[in-house]
């Protein structure tokens, strides 16, 4: 054999190794890729199950002011009842504590949630919570329009019940209009005009589309109204020095909804069915809402993420479930991604 023949044979042998290795890698790579996505899917389902079906530990951590982030032992958002439990019913107090200002002592940071869910540095997550039906309130020329949209399409014949509460400067009291009941048109819109020109006003809305109910308490006065929260049976973020305080409730009667108000005594507990408390502090209208994410017409979405500002990453896997909070239908979407590969 000539020296070139040895070299040629060697090159062929090496090429055979490279080719066969590449082929093995090419064949196994997609299988491993698909499998990793499947694992992420299962992991996302597992974490969402833990979040939605477990109340956490202590079970009343949402309304228990003594439980701070560091004393929370297990994370879960399910509503806890000693006698009755309903699947996929979330505790509004627990959800609210994810939506407070990051400097608030009751706020639960996502780093603590990562720790409690044992995710450590392996995974990142984001939770998105939004109403099952999109209800937007557009205030133009002192008129309120309600648009119901689902998946971007207008919803026809959604029942809309609305009542306006406003601060009357002359009487220095909170007054309300009578309830207005209407339905959306083919364009998904309906006009809800109360003809009230008060500066400080709060709109309470109930939208019902064949059993899918959305409640909203909307501040129509921007910074003219002070904002607080209802956590458990107490007010949070405002003092108890109220004049003419009232509790707003939504009651179902004879297949329809009635938005009603009763007096509130600050020293006493807030009724469990109360969705908002209104009061006057000085010349300010104060409103506290139990609904965790519908305080404003624009902010109808809660995003809670382990990476500030990111709701999802391109390689994240998402799982979605329908849940009930305070009788309103919401969708919760969990994005899960691996931090290391």
């Amino acid at each position: 054999m000539h020296i070139y023949e040895y070299l040629f044979t060697s090159i062929i042998i090496v090429l055979m190794l490279v080719a066969s290795s590449t082929m093995i890698g090419t064949v196994s790579e997609p299988l491993i890729g698909i499998s990793e996505k499947e694992q992420l899917k299962v992991a996302a389902q597992k974490i969402l199950t833990q979040i939605l079906l477990n109340p956490g530990d202590p079970a009343d951590w949402g309304s228990n002011f003594d439980v701070k982030a560091e004393s929370l032992k297990a994370f879960g958002l399910a509503k806890y009842g000693e006698s009755t439990c309903e699947a996929y019913v979330l505790d509004p107090d627990k959800v609210l504590r994810l939506n407070l200002s990051v400097t608030d002592p009751l706020y639960i940071p996502s780093s603590r949630v990562l720790e409690l869910l044992n995710l450590g540095y392996d995974y990142g997550f984001a939770m998105e919570l939004y109403p099952a039906i999109s209800v937007t309130v557009d205030e133009t020329s002192n008129e309120v329009y309600v648009t119901s949209r689902q998946d971007g399409l207008p919803i026809y014949y959604a029942k809309v019940h609305a009542r306006l509460y406003f601060y009357n400067d002359a009487s220095q009291k909170i007054e309300s209009t009578s309830q207005l009941d209407t339905t959306t048109g083919v364009d998904g819109k309906c006009a809800v005009n109360f003809g009230v020109s008060a500066e400080k006003k709060i709109l309470t809305l109930v939208v019902d589309y064949f059993g899918i109910r959305i409640m909203k308490v909307v501040n129509l006065s921007g910074s003219n109204v002070k904002k607080a929260y209802i956590i458990g049976n107490r007010l949070y973020g405002v003092g108890d020095v109220f004049e003419n305080p009232m509790q707003i409730m939504v009651n179902k009667r004879a297949g329809s909804y009635a938005i009603e108000s009763i007096a509130y005594t600050p020293a006493k507990d807030i009724e469990p069915s109360t969705v908002a408390v209104l009061g006057v502090e000085g010349s300010d209208l104060v409103y506290a809402s139990r609904l965790p994410i519908s305080e404003s017409s624009k902010e109808d979405r809660l995003v809670y993420s382990s990476i500030e500002g990111f709701s999802s990453l391109p390689f994240a896997y998402s799982v979605e479930r329908s849940v009930i909070i305070c009788g309103s239908a919401y969708n919760i979407r969990l994005y899960l991604w691996r931090m290391s590969f």
Binding site: S21, A43, K46, T49, N54
Partner: protein, 181 residues
């Protein structure tokens, strides 16, 4: 017959190259095989931990003391002819997780976290190293033989959870078998 020295060197070099290529191929194929097995083990571990979380949620939801719930989980009997183990581990700093590993190769191992911090919560997991035992389920003849480790080839592998008291839930993995095997 005289053979030129260059031919001897060339032939030896070729033989050496063939052996080296053969070894490289074996190493590479073994690595890829291990990666595929690890991926399959990860799937198994994720499947077990998902079912464990679901059964714990179910028992906590029922909120009835003495309530034992179990679910038979379907797992492959082997991975490409290789036996594997499923373990429930509670490790300081890492928390609770399900680990699946090949019996013949301890380095081929995969784990899946259980999203509950078992050190602090009212959930107690029967993990690897703890004493095994048995559990009765609603008067059934078969029993749950629970332990922190199960062999993947076993029939009727179960995840189980039991509400021991108002504040305590026990959970783990085991086998669903008649007394005496």
């Amino acid at each position: 017959m005289d053979v030129p020295l260059k031919h001897v060197i060339g032939t030896i070099a070729l033989i050496g190259l063939v052996i080296a290529v053969g070894l490289s191929y074996t190493v590479l194929a073994s690595y890829i095989e291990a990666e595929v097995a690890r991926t399959q083990l990860e799937q198994i571990a994720e499947h077990v931990s998902l079912n464990l979380v679901e059964i714990v949620s179910l028992v906590n939801f029922a909120n009835e003391t003495g309530n034992v719930q179990m679910k038979i989980i379907s797992l492959p009997s082997d991975l490409g002819g290789k036996a594997y183990l499923v373990r429930l581990i509670n490790e300081t700093g890492k928390g609770c997780f399900v680990q699946a590993e090949l019996v013949t190769r301890n380095d081929v191992v995969a784990s899946s976290i259980i999203p509950i911090n078992s050190y602090e919560t009212q959930l107690k997991l029967v993990t690897d190293g703890e004493n095994p035992g048995t559990l009765e389920v609603r008067g059934e003849v078969k029993l749950i033989y629970y332990s922190g480790t199960v062999y993947g080839g076993d029939h009727d592998i179960v995840v189980w959870a039991s509400k021991e008291s108002f504040h305590e839930t026990w959970a783990g993995i085991g086998l669903w078998e008649s007394p005496g095997g």
